[in-house]
Subunit: 439 residues, 2 copies
């Protein structure tokens, strides 16, 4: 029995999943391997962290997405190494899987610029568990403040620092400011949650550094309208249990979130090829790995400078398009394979070209910025476009309906539906107080 | 300034929350203390464990429920002791809170009949974290089976044992059998999930032992129609990593869930009064604690035998009605207080009378049993009543809409929306295999 070529895809994010689906009619066997059993719609993960959506609203089981694709199977497991010369990947339990084609799409995680101790104090936002941890810390701080007798400590509990003003940092800051202002006040008796401080720190001189400068300005205005204190050109030099050092300034704060540096998945290095400073694989123009036309790296893990000198940005669209491109190259290779002069070796390969569809970031209620082609939008219109685009790209009818419904509910009631503190529920206080008489 | 009497309520479940709300017009200060920041609608928690609902759909922040009740405040913290003579409760952080009236409503947790080692191997279902842990283990077993080479081990992975056939055990077993039969088959390639075995073990001679015998029969029929293997009069004598001992029988199974014994919250004992074998406080006919008319125990933590010899069952209705009763006694005590011959001492006290509204348990799609007054129902009609009653009692418009929507979706599509494996994602295998060619 002649076996169909085996395409192994590592990672079920935007890049890997798109690649798997684009191979649905190809005469191959596809094995998609992921540590998790679900695809995560990362652009809305900050809404899980800020109590607007449940994890399940932004995630779908990979098996269910691929259930009708007969040539694909899903393997839950952790790939720990790649051996390109043997054409094998190795899983954490020692199993080795042969491949004919390999697509590595394991993305990036957050990096603390060598300050590993910060990881514990300032969680980042990449996984569902990260999101529920951020939600836990954010909500718990208000609970602790309500019971805290010492006014300085109360102030520290109600000060939140977000490091990094890319889209994730901006979205977290805006959402948290809104919650403190609109959602919390009536729920607490002892504290005035409108005194909550949200500080957004950014190393370069503007928020959303990858966006056009005029949109950075609009975003900063909208953040400040929400009461967010934006500090640009500000580097974090220390994160301690009760304060953050921002250059010379000491910011008294108990809760810090990390939305700054990223670092490539360690699998990139195991390919044994050149990487950039963040560990991203320097791929060929067709997204393949130098010397290995049968191996592609797509999505955030790939570092690709196009002919025009622009680099492909680490966003969902970049990963989706690279995943499609890798699938196209694999299909082309299969067709040519066996015929003289064509095959895996990389002939017939086309360079990847990123089709820039624009940028979108939301700040809060009816507040967002958008770049679509040459158009620059901000405010309500940008926000509507943001919402429509995000619902459209969400996977699954169920998730689309639930997300729209919950957004409508949140919009109308100024509430957040998912204010649950799960996991370890301990409230740790400096000087807890007994309840006083109410006013 | 004359302080209003302080009513401290420990626990924000059905009993405590109902009591707090029933005191909304009373001239008291209410402090509701809970370890969690949310009220949990326990009757639907098994649906979180079986991937039908998200935690937030069956939980609401206690603060939000009480936000308009000006005489109430919510305190997130853990009560570790009660000193009835000093009229104080103590929190884990050492804070002591004075009370004039105390309502203890901390419920029960699962108990392993002295086999504490079983707790790790067979998680029970009391908290949101329990539910996501059960969901994780249930879904992970299928993922591991898909990758397992050894057929015996695959069989072990696809065998689930549920210990205890009360409502929780019956509901878990039915939902899990449906998922294996209706939801999973198309998603997996290597395993046939319809071969999944669900065993439901019960020590006494019928399922739902507290229900009328004819409903136990109906429930057992409906479970068996779903393929659940019901074993009554069967005692578990051992739970190991790869098998369960049920009397002399060795059941090869990797995944076990616990829905058997319960044990009272340890706070009951700290009252220094008589308790039953499970640690429940033997309360006076008015739900107060012997010798302390200002202290009430309500809900599952209370053991109360009524004049007619019946005991109040440990169900939501029992807790709700006892919470209302305690609030009524407190209001009556306040009115009488100061007048001659009446007051906290317990005069003017009425005995609690449980108004039995019936029993409801669901087994699966269009399968349930119900006792309403003298009526006994099963099948579709019972199931519709079950659904209507549960949506009606859910707190919050948002949750009602979302639950109805998700039930409708699940009913129409035979899907489960929340199939996420969160937390530690490791798949542990005996003999993992590499993917084979697909058929």
């Amino acid at each position: 029995m002649s076996k169909r070529p085996h395409v192994v895809i590592i990672g079920g994010g935007f890049g890997g999943l798109t690649c798997a689906r684009a191979l649905r009619k190809a005469p191959v066997r596809v094995t998609l391997i992921d540590r998790r059993n679900f695809h995560l719609f990362q652009p809305l993960l900050y809404q899980v962290a800020t109590a607007s959506l449940s994890p399940a609203d932004v995630a779908s089981p990979i098996r269910t997405i691929l259930r009708k694709q007969k040539n694909a199977q899903v393997w839950m497991g952790e790939v720990t190494g790649i051996d390109p010369s043997a054409r094998e990947v190795e899983l954490s339990d020692g199993v080795r899987i042969d491949y004919d084609w390999l697509v590595v799409a394991t993305g990036v995680t957050h990096a603390y610029f060598g300050n590993d101790a910060w990881a514990e104090r300032a969680p980042g936002l990449k996984t569902v568990d990260d999101a529920t941890e951020i939600r836990r810390r954010f909500l718990l701080a208000f609970e602790a403040a309500e019971r805290e007798a010492d006014p300085d400590e109360r102030r520290r509990l109600l000060t939140f620092v977000i490091v990094g003003a890319g889209p994730t940092g901006v979205e977290l800051a805006g959402a948290m400011a809104e919650i403190a202002r609109d959602v919390m006040p009536k729920d607490f008796r002892a504290i005035d949650t409108t005194t909550t401080r949200i500080l957004l720190l950014e190393g370069v001189d503007r928020v959303l550094p990858t966006y056009p400068p005029e949109l950075s300005e609009r975003a900063e205005e909208q953040l400040e309208a929400l009461g967010v204190e934006v500090r640009t050109s500000t580097f974090v030099t220390g994160i301690e249990a009760d304060h953050v050092m921002a250059g010379e300034e000491r910011i008294e704060a108990r809760t810090v979130f990390w939305a700054a540096g990223v670092e490539a998945s360690s699998l990139g290095a195991s390919l044994g090829v050149e990487t950039d400073r963040a560990g991203r694989v320097l791929v060929e123009p067709d997204c393949s790995v130098p010397g290995h036309p049968e191996v592609f790296v797509v999505g955030d893990l790939a570092s690709l400078t196009q002919d025009d000198g622009t680099t492909v940005p680490g966003v969902a669209q970049g990963a989706i398009q690279m995943g499609q491109h890798a699938a196209r190259m694999i299909r082309a290779g299969l067709e040519g394979h066996g015929r003289e002069g064509v095959g895996l070796e990389g002939r017939q390969r086309e360079p990847f070209r990123y089709r820039d569809k624009g940028d979108l970031a939301t700040i809060g209620r009816a507040a967002a910025v958008a770049r679509i082609g040459r158009a620059r939008l901000s405010g309500l219109l940008a926000w509507i476009i943001w919402a429509v685009v995000h619902v459209f790209y969400l996977i699954g009818f169920r998730n689309r309906i639930l997300v729209m419904l919950q957004w409508t509910w949140a919009y109308l009631t100024y509430q957040r539906g998912i204010r649950l503190i799960t996991g370890n529920p301990k409230v740790e206080l400096q000087r807890a107080r007994a309840p006083d008489e109410l006013g």
